[in-house]
């Protein structure tokens, strides 16, 4: 699949999750029953256009609620999305992932961080996930309510999709904005600048939803794989991968967002993907590598 087609799907998915465009002018949020359903991607439920609930916000709201410290419905929904799609959601359906994809298209130097630093920072999303699951349950106020810590102190999607449009149209909210808003705005500016220089830094290092879906990549119904007998080890797939996945070694790694760039770059068609596919059903045993082909060395 061409990346242009993927961007079109991303745009349509963002629109499907935020169809109430008129609310951006009126400064209201949608209050219909569809908001009891969680959307698959990171999409703030305080975004004026949002039709559904953000899974991370909902998870924290339930865990931090007075009635219980465990979520069944939201956790089950996230698990279901993850076991069906894995991080295909990050690559195709997440509005904030789409925003980062577009930002990265802005011409600029695209430096790579040192490999060791990059690997260490990737653990950040699991720290975020732990904070999402534990802090609202463990740190509660006198009324027994826990803060949605990730939404409150970190989430740049909430600031971009909810904070900025609502403050732009609501004077009372503007007047109430204090240090916390400045902090979150600063984080958003940082993520935006970082996304121009580097591909999807929020997804790589901070997203708790990406962490859950990543852990399920290996077991999801949607799978990717490499036909070893057709692979000519040219290295094009790994050069094409902006998430830094070891494509031939571990294509279903927790870092793979299933964008398909590796598959499009493969000169022999050795990379397969799809629902209900595995090594046994996807690989044609008679498929062998071509006798000759251009060789591209790895950096």
């Amino acid at each position: 699949m061409k990346q242009g087609t993927r961007h079109l799907i991303q745009a349509l998915a963002a629109l499907a999750q935020n169809p109430h465009l008129g609310n951006f002018i009126t400064g209201r949020i949608h209050q219909g029953p569809s908001k009891r359903l969680c959307v698959p991607g990171l999409n703030c439920y305080s975004c004026p256009g949002a039709a559904g609930a953000c899974p991370i916000g909902s998870l924290q709201a339930v865990i931090g609620g007075r009635t219980r410290s465990v979520s069944y419905y939201v956790a089950g929904t996230v698990l279901l999305f993850g076991v069906l799609f894995g991080r295909l959601i990050c690559g195709f359906l997440c509005p904030f992932g789409f925003v980062q994809d577009l930002l990265h298209k802005i011409p600029s130097p695209k430096p790579s961080p040192p490999r060791r630093l990059d690997r260490t920072l990737r653990w950040g999303k699991y720290v975020s996930l732990a904070a999402v699951l534990l802090l609202p349950a463990l740190v509660k106020d006198a009324f027994g309510i826990g803060d949605p810590f990730f939404c409150k102190y970190v989430c740049p999607a909430g600031t971009l999709e909810g904070g900025l449009p609502l403050l732009a149209t609501n004077e009372a909210l503007r007047a109430a904005a204090r240090f916390l808003f400045s902090w979150k705005l600063g984080l958003l500016v940082l993520v935006i600048a970082w996304s121009v220089l580097m591909y999807r830094p929020f997804c790589k290092y901070l997203c708790p939803l990406g962490a859950i879906y990543g852990l399920l990549n290996r077991f999801s119904v949607y799978q990717m794989g490499v036909n070893k007998s057709a692979c000519i080890h040219c290295g094009r797939c790994e050069k094409a991968c902006k998430m830094g996945v070891d494509v031939t070694g571990n294509i279903n790694s927790a870092e793979c967002i299933r964008c398909g760039a590796c598959k499009a770059a493969c000169p022999t068609g050795a990379i397969w993907s799809g629902f209900f596919k595995d090594e046994k059903t996807a690989v044609n045993p008679s498929q062998t590598p071509p006798s000759s082909g251009p060789s591209v060395g790895r950096d």
Partner: protein
Amino acid sequence: MTAKDAPRPHRRLAGKRLVTVAIFTISVGLIAVGISVGEPAEVLQKAVNICLECIGIG
């Protein structure tokens, strides 16, 4: 041929499929339990009001 005699990649694949089915079953079960205890109403309650924390107000 028994499962024990099957070649290792096939056993690995079968194990992976089993995990997938288990996670799928657990997720559907969790959703059902959540619905039965009224969790969607809690989500709705939160989602239809402006989340001040999410937008950076408080």
